[in-house]
Amino acid sequence: MINKVVKTIDEALDGVISDMTFMVGGFGLSGIPENAIAALSKKDIFGLTCISNNAGVDDFGLGLLLQRKQIKKMISSYVGENAEFERQMLSGELEVDLIPQGSLAERCRAGGAGIPAFFTPAGYGTEVAEGKEVREYNGKPHILETALTADFAFVKAWKGDTAGNLIFKGTARNFNPLMAMAGKITVAEVEELVPAGELDPNQIHTPGIFVQRILQGEKYEKRIEQKTTRSRV
């Protein structure tokens, strides 16, 4: 068994420097690597390119890195929850590449799977298609999208073992397994780290081969963005 465990967040972030490209898992604030983001926001690293479906909110998630202007470029699909993001984007301080969510997911998956590019119908005829090769398959136009990889991928899982195998919970899975595949160095933080052998191999979502470092997360706030409930009648 290859042991992937790192003891501290500093060890987990070893090698992180300015101008790198990071992938950050999560959808909204669900399943984001809270500990890695918090630690990155305290480091003096700037000029980052971040690949993440969303950009957090003003004071949590990737919003923390945006506040300190650590991010030069965001590659995302939806950023509506963050006013500071919108301000930096409209003023031109922040470079933004908005891409369809399914294409973002598949581009990460492809990056990890050794597929350099693929054709998809999503975005054909829109701004997203500008400059991209168009080809017809089954009578329908498709655009060429290229794979994404990153220097570091920061992901968050529910449970993990010392071999780096991961199990996610609920909809906190989202982009995490795909980004884990696409990171040159994938840092997984988990709510519960167990010895290898304790997780049922049948139930593992992300095989440890995709994870270079695994860390027991110190604490999780797990903020809810839109608390929506129904009344008991």
């Binding site: 369809p100 399914g102 397994p177």
Partner: protein
């Protein structure tokens, strides 16, 4: 004239038995409240859940269980959770049969715009471009006019589009419109709204054949 809940109620009549449906943010989300009796539907949310249930009771919210609008949800028996690539395989692969979403503009060739107002609002397309590029059936739920009172039903989109030639039907507070290869066809009018009023509120030409019935809610 319909309110938002009534728009959702009218769209719910379009649901077919034993189908998988993706509901967008806003009015579309309300459609789940009006599923007709005897119709079995599984709702997909593109952040990675199929078999989505109602909102949780107060105190039972789970931060690890949300829909694509980031609202807390529950799951029903038979539900399944998956990653974003699998989710969009369901969408792109046309396993999800119906998509209901909101729009800022719909044009007469079925183009939809709902993700960007240049220089003003830049939220991103989220999963909308993947959804509209692939679903067999796409219904738009929206108000007929914008806040300024201008028609959102246009000959040609003025905003950056989300997808081309994709919308099949539009349900607004005033009317039900079908997108045909000759343009918008008026199918139904909202209770108490005349054909004349609909024409006046619509920038695109309307195909009007015979008596236009009132919606039945």
């Amino acid at each position: 004239m319909l309110n938002k809940n009534q728009i959702a109620q009218r769209i719910a009549q379009e649901l077919e038995h034993n189908t998988y449906v993706n509901l967008g943010i806003g009015i579309p989300t309300l459609v789940a409240n009006y599923i007709p009796q005897g119709i079995d539907i599984e709702f997909q949310s593109e952040n990675g859940v199929l078999g989505m249930g109602p909102f949780p009771f107060e105190g039972e919210e789970d931060p690890d269980l949300i829909n694509a609008g980031k609202q807390t949800i529950t799951t029903l028996d038979g539900a399944v959770l998956f990653d974003s690539a699998t989710s969009f395989a369901m969408i792109r692969g046309q396993h999800v049969q119906l998509t209901v979403l909101g729009a800022m503009e719909v044009s007469e060739n079925g183009d939809i715009a709902n993700w960007k107002i240049p220089g003003k609002m830049v939220k991103g397309m989220g999963g909308a471009m993947d959804l509209v590029a692939s679903a067999d059936n796409i219904i738009v739920a929206m108000m007929h006019t914008n806040r300024a009172g201008d028609s959102k039903i246009l000959k040609q989109s003025t905003l950056p589009i989300t997808g081309v030639n994709c919308v099949k039907k539009v349900v607004t507070n005033l009317a039900v419109l079908e997108v045909t290869n000759k343009g918008f066809k008026l199918l139904e009018r909202a209770p108490g709204v005349s054909v004349e009023e609909i024409k006046n509120a619509t920038a695109a030409d309307l195909i009007i054949e015979g008596e236009i019935p009132e919606m039945q809610l």
